[in-house]
Symmetry: C2
Subunit: 199 residues, 2 copies
C-alpha cells in the first residue's frame, strides 16, 4: 500500500471506523469523495461539524435536538403526564411514525447490558426518576426493544417507579418478539400501543 | 420526520448520497457520528477536506497523488519504457500487490461506456497517446477489466497505438472473465501478467 497517498488512506481509515463499513467499502467511499465536486465535499465536511455543534440532548427528555428544549417537550398540545420511555433517539422517530402517541418521551440512550459493560448508571434512568418525582406524571409506558436487554431494562425501571404510585405499562407484544422497535411497521406499532398492559 | 433536527437530517442526507449507502444506513451513520468524541468528528471532517485539497492527478500517469509527480513515475528503478494502462487508481494498487510489474502506469479514469455516456474524449486516452508519441515507450500493456467495456476500451486504444510501432499487449485471461481487476488475487494477477499476449 506504499503508493496510496497518505490523505486518501487517512480518509479511508475514517470511513472504515464507521459501523458496518469494511475496508474495501471504506476505500471505495474515499475514492468517491475524491471524485465529488469541491462544494459537495466541503458540504459533507461541514454537515459533520454542524451536526456535532448544533445538536445536543433536550434537558427534559434527553432526545436529540438543535433547540434549547426539543419541539415535543415544548408542544402544549401533547399530554405531558404520559411519558414513553425508549432506548434510542431513532426509536422516537419510529413511535412518531405510528401517529398514535400524543404524550412525551424519555430517551435512555442505551439499555442495561452487562455483557457490553453498560450499567444502570450509564443510561438516563436518574433523569427519568427526577421527572416522575417532580409530579404531574400519570403514566410511564416502557417502549424498549422486546429483546432480553430491553425487557430487563423495562423491568428494572418499572421496579424503581412502583413506589412512586404511578401507572407503569409496557408496549403490548403486538411486535414480533426478538425484532427491533426501529424496524417495526406503523400498524403493528399502533396495535402494540393500544394493547399495552400494566406491569 | 418533523422532529428530526435539521443538522442531523442534513448529515444523513449526505451519507445517503454515497454509493451503496441506503437511507436507513445513512441514518445510523449520522447517529454514530453524533456519538463520536468531538475530536474524532472533526478529524473525519478534516480528512475529507485534506483529501480533496492535497490529492490530485499525477501529470505523467494520471494516478492520484499528493506530490508534484507520483512516486511510481519518479522512481528511477522502474522501467519507464513499459506502461500498464488501467481504468482506475484502485487498479494500480491491485497491480502493485502482485509485485510482478516493474514498469509504470497510465490511469484512464474510466472506460468507454456509451450506455453511461462516457466517450473516448472523457477518459485519459489523449494523455496516453502523447506519452507514447514522446518516444522511449517500448510496450503498452492493456490492463482494463476483462468485461465488455474494458475489452472494448482496450481494443480501441490498441488500434490507436498500432501506427506508432510499439508493442501493445493485453493481460492474459488468467483472470476469470466477467470479474473485476480490483478483486483479483495476487497469484492470478501474476499469471495474467506472465502470459500476456500481443494484440
Amino acid at each position: 500500500m506504499q503508493y496510496f497517498p497518505a490523505a486518501l488512506q487517512e480518509l479511508a481509515d475514517r470511513f472504515a471506523r464507521l459501523p458496518g463499513i469494511g475496508g474495501k467499502t471504506a476505500q471505495r467511499l474515499a475514492f468517491h469523495v475524491l471524485e465529488l465536486p469541491l462544494e459537495e465535499a466541503e458540504g459533507f465536511a461541514n454537515a459533520i461539524l454542524a451536526a456535532k455543534k448544533e445538536i445536543h440532548t433536550c434537558p427534559v427528555c434527553q432526545n436529540l435536538t438543535d433547540r434549547a428544549v426539543c419541539p415535543i417537550c415544548e408542544d402544549d398540545m401533547r399530554d405531558h403526564s404520559l411519558i414513553c420511555v425508549v432506548a434510542e433517539p431513532r426509536d422516537v422517530i419510529a413511535m412518531e411514525r405510528s401517529r398514535e402517541f400524543n404524550g412525551v418521551y424519555h430517551v435512555l440512550h442505551g439499555v442495561i447490558s452487562p455483557l457490553n459493560h453498560v450499567t444502570q448508571e450509564d443510561i438516563k434512568i436518574r433523569e427519568l426518576l427526577q421527572r416522575v418525582a417532580a409530579g404531574q406524571v400519570r403514566e410511564v409506558i416502557m417502549a424498549t426493544d422486546p429483546d432480553v436487554e430491553g425487557e430487563a431494562t423495562a423491568m428494572y425501571i418499572s421496579r424503581l417507579l412502583r413506589p412512586m404510585e404511578i401507572k407503569v405499562t409496557r408496549l403490548a407484544y403486538g411486535m414480533p418478539v426478538g425484532s427491533q422497535l426501529e424496524y417495526t411497521d406503523e400498524v403493528t406499532l399502533s396495535r402494540a400501543l393500544e394493547g399495552r398492559q400494566e406491569i
